[in-house]
């Protein structure tokens, strides 16, 4: 299908659509693992599914791979409905969470497995050539005849990756591929994966519950919750314009103050907080007077200072983070919240110590009023 999809603002895909989910639901007995999913995946895109454990990320991936048949709805690949197409007939490959490398085969045999299944058969020399190239791409030259159990976790992951990309799939599905790696290796692999994706132009669909990973690697992120898609957008969109408290909380860190909307007429909307205070902010969605909402303010959008206007707070804790310092402060009515101070302001001023009093202020135009769920 060569049409372009421009869904709602945040769903827009500025590319050819390679895969699509239409009202897809999947239930296991009475567990609804995925419900009414609608999503277009663009060609060459790096899309991530992000959500807590059990929210249905793996289920979506398995539906795309063909291991699960949706209970309802349609799955489209390249414009064709593929609901009934078996996994072995789909031009889609998966990198499994535990890699699922074949223990009775060497590295080369593992990588060439997909090519050997092709009918009509590929010639031996063609296979050897492609395998050599794939080994090169994942920097595993010299490991050809190793057994799988003789490889480290990181190396195994590269084999799994090579085994999938050698087939030049329409979609490459990755189910938490970095979960088993240590932090440093994970960072390296993230960069490598991103480079690989750009270099090959293959569409990547990644599942993760690590928000940092999703933010740093993806073109778009699809936030999931209990089987639903909550919001889809670029990392920046999700960070700057979350549509619900859930998203604001999941992507980055934020301070939340719950209350009810009292006035919608003015440019800045007033919210009466539960503790009796009144606060102003801008709407982060379609909300009505009297609705339960919360005001979300990111710690780095708050300023902690000694002079001028602001709420008087007391510093409870201070964590030095290098270019930032994170303060946990408390206010008489607002309670505890976080303030992030850039290093620069610390250098110009004397840093706050535990127990110090200070003033906190922010622009009302950045305080987001969100649905409180």
């Amino acid at each position: 299908m060569k049409s372009k999809a421009y869904d709602s603002e945040s769903q827009s895909v500025d590319r050819n659509v390679i895969a699509e989910l239409r009202d897809v639901s999947k239930s296991f007995g009475d567990v609804l693992a995925a419900s009414d999913l609608n999503l277009s995946i663009g060609e060459g895109e790096f899309l991530s599914f992000l959500g807590p454990s059990g929210c249905g990320k793996t289920t979506v991936l398995r539906i795309l791979a063909g291991f699960e048949v949706p209970t309802k709805g349609e799955v489209l690949l390249d414009g064709e409905v593929v609901n009934g197409l078996d996994a072995y007939n789909r031009p889609v490959n998966m990198v499994f969470q535990q890699y699922a490398l074949f223990p009775h085969m060497t590295v080369t045999q593992n990588i060439g497995y997909g090519l050997r299944q092709r009918r009509p058969r590929l010639s031996k020399t063609q296979i050897v050539k492609k395998v050599t190239k794939a080994l090169d791409v994942v920097q595993l030259g010299g490991f050809e005849n190793r057994r799988i159990w003789e490889m480290s976790g990181g190396q195994q992951q590269r084999v799994a990756l090579a085994r999938a990309i050698i087939n030049e799939p329409k979609l490459l599905l990755l189910d938490e591929p970095m979960a088993a790696l240590d932090r440093k290796l994970r960072k390296e692999m993230q960069i490598e994966l991103q480079n690989l994706q750009r270099q090959l132009g293959i569409t990547f669909v990644l599942v993760t519950h690590d928000q940092e990973e999703a933010l740093s690697m993806s073109d778009r992120i699809c936030i999931m919750r209990e089987g639903h898609i909550v919001q889809v957008g670029s990392p920046q969109e999700l960070y700057d314009r979350p549509k619900s408290r859930y998203v604001a909380d999941f992507v980055g860190t934020s301070n939340f103050f719950s209350g009810k909307i009292t006035n919608l007429t003015e440019n800045l909307v007033s919210v009466l907080l539960e503790n009796g205070m009144s606060m102003q902010g801008i709407l982060g969605g379609e909300l009505t007077v009297g609705q339960d909402v919360c005001i979300s303010i990111r710690p780095e959008q708050m300023r902690l200072h000694r002079q001028g206007d602001g709420l008087t707070v007391k510093v409870l804790n201070r964590i030095f983070l290098g270019e930032h310092t994170e303060y946990l402060v408390t206010h008489g009515t607002l309670g505890d919240f976080l303030v992030l101070s850039p290093r620069q302001s610390e250098l110009n001023d004397v840093p706050f110590n535990r127990g110090d009093e200070g003033l906190v202020s922010w622009d009302s135009s950045i305080a987001l009023i969100l649905e409180n769920n």
């Binding site: 791979a65 063909g66 291991f67 078996d86 996994a87 072995y88 007939n89 889609v92 490959n93 998966m94 499994f96 969470q97 535990q98 699922a100 490398l101 074949f102 223990p103 009775h104 497995y113 997909g114 299944q117 092709r118 159990w149 085994r163 087939n167």
Partner: protein, 272 residues
């Protein structure tokens, strides 16, 4: 399972281990040790009755172990795809089949087969063209192999099932994700991975069949297996020659058993 099997075998072989010692005696009496000698082994191996019985035993053991391995593996693989009540019922029936005493299997098989043959033989002879002698179904090598196969299949199913359950489901999924049809997935992934278990099942089955006396006693008809030969000779008195035969049976059995254990162990480690 392994501990259970080991215990059973220990229990079975302890008395024979004592006999093994006396098989190297130079004297004529089975219960006295009179100097080291291997002459009874030579004697046993040149006894035509022993060699006949050995041949029968080997043929039965190889045939029934082979059939049990093939059908047992097929059953185990098929059971993988079944869930719920049907599977529970099958699983328990298989365990029961292994636990049933040999004498029950022996008698039941004998009565069952004799009844069926008595019904079938007249039927076959009436249908057979006149002038030719109709084939007559009777107890013998065929029934012995059949009885052993049915019993050993349960054993193979249990061993292969254990391996299949331990095998990562993601492996077959990965294979199918990489364009292999279910048939090719079975050939290229499942079979190679469970093969050590199948081989172990074959060797254990061989040992069971080779050692079996009770079932064979009932269903062998006029055939004489090695255990049956030993049994009938003992009634004429235990000689060092019998001890030597017994020791050789023990040796073969132990060799098979140890190989089977090794197969199950190393195969298990590499696939983790």
């Amino acid at each position: 399972m392994r501990i259970y099997a080991t215990c059973v075998y220990l229990f079975l072989y302890t008395p024979i281990a004592i006999i093994a010692l006396f098989s190297f005696s130079a004297g004529r009496h089975a219960s006295q040790f009179q100097g080291f000698s291997i002459k009874w082994y030579g004697k046993a191996l040149s006894n035509p009755f022993v060699m006949d019985a050995l041949e029968t035993s080997l043929m039965v053991a190889v045939a029934s172990a082979f059939l049990a391995s093939v059908f047992g593996t097929m059953a185990a693989v098929a059971l993988q795809g079944i869930k719920g009540l049907v599977r529970t019922v099958f699983d328990s029936l298989i365990y029961v089949a292994v636990m049933i005493p040999g004498i029950v299997i022996g008698i039941a098989t004998l009565i069952g087969l004799v009844t069926v043959f008595d019904q079938l033989n007249p039927l076959v002879s009436t249908l057979w063209p006149t002038g030719f002698t109709p084939p007559k179904l009777h107890m013998g090598m065929g029934t012995l192999i059949a009885a052993h196969t049915v019993f050993l299949m349960a054993l193979v199913v249990i061993i292969v099932r254990a391996k299949l359950v331990g095998m990562d489901r993601a492996l077959t999924e990965a294979s199918s994700d990489l364009y292999a049809t279910p048939m090719r997935t079975f050939q290229q992934v499942t079979l190679p991975i469970i093969f050590p278990a199948i081989l172990a099942g074959f060797l254990l089955s061989f040992t069971f069949s080779f050692d079996d006396f009770i079932i064979a006693f009932f269903v062998a008809g006029s055939e004489t297996t090695l255990p049956i030969y030993i049994f009938s000779s003992i009634r004429r008195g235990v000689t060092p020659e019998i001890n030597a035969i017994g020791t050789m049976v023990l040796g073969v059995s132990l060799l098979m058993l140890i190989t089977a254990q090794l197969l199950l162990q190393t195969g298990g480690k590499k696939n983790k």
